[in-house]
């Protein structure tokens, strides 16, 4: 049992000036601090408590581009999309009270998926805190359980260090959202700005390396295993460790199964990739894990959507768990070999070590034979129809017309699972999704942020008709700034995933899932000044998708799909993962 830890965190102290410089407002310190940390893009919506900040932002508009969203949830999701697509820290700026509470869903989404964000919230003036002032809310308290760290800035002289530290903490170790709550008076007070050359804090975090001993123990176990599986997740993506992962598994010739958050961390089309595992994972992936004798878990957290019933998950496997966050290790499954390290560093160390071994070819031939049998027994597939567009067909056609190169940003629900299953990813940061929190409404604004981060790549938001209606107000933001976003609505007239569960587990009682009364999405698109298109038949699907994707601007493509298609395979919640329902 590991029962004691020690580290060396910093405490922000008010700096003593060594040389006189010109005094500037807190608001300007904040903007200069953002610029010093490499920020050129922020998403936000102004209000009373952040007026000084917006005033400075106006003066610095050449250096920092602010995108005016129409709802603060959109600002945070857009910042997330930007961060997920690049690995850089995303920045959102909102006002006090309702501005901050509207941002909470986005902050929690980023927290669950370990996305680096800095969210700046305005606060009522220091002297009014605690008086139930207009637009006052305890932002520090409300966001406390969903942030990596947070600040209530009480003194303008601390602000510069706080901004620098916020960016450091957002990226360091396991990334996450950091909130800076700034009372209005602090943004007006004067202080000195010292600049990055005089900063007291480091800007780049070191990547923790694995211990030599843990690597040796892991190597020994991996070489001894007869039925090993690499189970890889978001940690591989956030550490940008795809190359190192490919090196290790290619030397070893072992099967790999990514989680939803790990999609793209290993190319789906790679012959060693079994596809996603878990609740809607492939037959081969779930059975391989169930039968494995060694699970090499990299940057994963044994989420319930992956494991199903925990004590029957990989029941005969020993576990090597590589994670940057020590608290993830042993939280749900006790590993035989814990490796607390950055995924990139750990995989590189393993690859270097295995490169020295002479591994017999076909040493896992029996295992591969078994796996290939499972693969051909139940591949991911779908029967097309002549009259209706099948949702899987929509994703496969989208894959075809984008040459598999688009960044796919999903919302949450059935379409998300079909996108995960039927859009093979080539690279990290190609598949962006709200995995942990499962936030409907994430897709559209996140895709907007991703499109800004990757201006030369096609970015497609794949959303359901339910989630789309939660944040579709951001279409106008994309139109306003000429962000050439493409939105594909998989429209089945239902809150589809809930309907599927009601069909399968609640005796087809379709309680409050009918969305057949919805706006005309084509007209809605046109009302926003975007291009609206619709496909209703299989013949026109490809053509309509092409038209939409080729359009030079924001396109909303409403694809009417068969209403009661279900996502398969499915492991019922809390079930044993080898017991998949296949159709």
């Amino acid at each position: 049992m590991e029962t004691a830890t020690q580290k060396n965190p910093t405490v922000v102290t008010i700096p003593v000036s060594v040389h006189e410089t010109e005094k500037v407002r807190g608001a300007e310190v904040l903007i200069k601090g953002l610029i010093a940390n490499g920020v050129d893009t922020i998403f936000g919506l102004p209000g009373g408590a952040v007026l000084h900040i917006y005033d400075e932002l106006w003066r610095y508009r050449e250096q920092v581009t602010h995108y005016l969203v129409r709802h603060e949830q959109g600002a945070v999701h857009a910042a997330e999309g930007y961060a997920r697509a690049t690995g850089k820290v995303g920045v959102a700026l909102v006002t006090s009270g309702p501005g901050a509470t509207n941002a909470v869903t986005g902050i929690a989404t980023a927290y669950m998926d370990s996305i680096p964000l800095v969210v700046i919230t305005g606060q009522v003036p220091s002297g009014m805190i605690g008086t139930d002032a207009f637009q006052e809310v305890d932002t520090f308290g409300i966001t406390l359980p969903v942030v990596k760290h947070s600040y209530l800035v009480r003194n303008v002289h601390e602000l510069e260090d706080i901004v620098n530290e916020a960016f450091y903490l957002a990226k360091e170790g396991k990334p996450g959202p950091v909130v800076i709550d700034i009372p209005k008076d602090v943004t007006a007070q004067l202080t000195e700005y010292r600049g990055p050359q005089n900063a007291t804090l480091v800007f780049e975090a070191e990547r923790p390396k694995p211990s030599v001993k843990s690597v040796e123990l892991a190597v020994e176990k991996i070489l001894a295993a007869r039925r090993p599986v690499f189970y890889v997740g978001g940690g591989v993506v956030s550490a940008d460790a795809a190359d190192e992962l490919a090196r290790v598994v290619e030397i070893l010739d072992v099967p790999v199964t990514p989680t939803l958050m790990g999609l793209g961390g290993f190319p789906t089309a790679h012959p060693q990739c079994l596809g996603m595992l878990g609740m809607h994972g492939t037959y081969a992936a779930n059975l391989a894990v169930a039968e494995s004798d060694l699970l090499v878990a990299v940057g994963v957290r044994f989420d319930d959507r992956v494991t199903g019933k925990l004590n029957t998950f990989a029941p005969n496997a020993e576990v090597i768990h590589i994670d940057i966050d020590a608290s993830n290790i042993g939280k749900l499954r006790k590993p035989q070999i814990p490796v607390v390290a950055d995924a990139k560093e750990a995989l590189a160390a393993l690859a270097d070590r295995f490169a020295q071994e002479s591994l017999g070819k076909d040493r896992l031939a029996d295992w591969w034979e078994q796996i290939n049998e499972w693969r051909s027994e139940v591949p991911l597939s779908c029967e097309y129809s002549e009259t209706e567009i099948k949702p899987q067909q929509l994703i496969e056609t989208l894959h075809k017309v984008t040459d598999g190169d688009a960044v796919v940003v999903t919302d949450v629900g059935q379409h998300q699972m079909w996108a995960a299953q039927f859009y093979p990813c080539k690279r990290s940061r190609q598949f962006l999704t709200s995995g942990g929190l499962g936030t409907m409404g994430f897709g559209l604004p996140a895709a907007m942020g991703a499109q800004l981060a990757c201006p030369d790549t096609t970015v497609v938001a794949v959303v359901g008709d339910g989630g789309f209606q939660m944040t579709n107000q951001e279409i106008i933001t994309a139109v306003q700034y000429n962000i050439p976003l493409k939105v594909v609505i998989m429209n089945n007239g239902y809150l589809g995933m809930v309907r599927q569960w009601q069909e399968m587990f609640y005796d087809r009682a379709y309680s409050e899932v009918d969305l057949s009364v919805s706006p005309d999405f084509v007209k809605l698109a046109e009302a926003y000044g975007a291009k609206g298109l619709r496909a209703t038949t299989p013949e026109e699907l490809e053509d309509v998708l092409r038209q939409g994707l080729e359009y030079d601007g924001v396109a909303i493509i409403d694809v009417v799909v068969s209403k009661e298609e279900n996502v398969f395979p499915i492991v019922p919640a809390g079930g044993e993962s080898r017991n998949m329902i296949l159709k």
Binding site: E2, A4, K7, T13
Partner: protein, 172 residues
Amino acid sequence: MRHTISIIVANEAGELSRIVGLFSARGYNIETISVGKTLDPRWSKATIVTSGDDTTIEQIVKQCSRLARVKEVKAVTTLPHIEREMALIDVSVTRGDERQEVMSLVNIFRAKVVDISHDKMILEMSGTQDKVETFIDMLKPLAINEVTRSGTVAITRLSALEGSEYALQRAA
């Protein structure tokens, strides 16, 4: 199982609520908590008594260590350590024999009388949680008006004796 955790955290507004919030968010119980600044006033030390199996305690240690302003976390009950709690106890004593009885308990337990009036005494007792509880229990036949307990504070120490209980535990 009962465990005492000691956490060194920045002496800043909001940092203690972050720790307490973590306990409630993750479903850990807080039996007692006591906090005071360390020798270096920029840091506070919190002593938390909680309960859980080994896995839970390990998780508590790891989860607390993740907090940005936490410098050190120790499950002190797995190390050689000293634990103390203090209680202030207000008892009614109206007759001379009652006062005699209280005084004899005070002597046996090495407690202190810190306030006295015609019909009341306030006692100060410090010791292990067990000892404090036994003392309160012994006073129960008399009329206890009020008890205020500090919660446990703890400090680790070097293992004094080779072959001591702790040394054996650690070796195992």
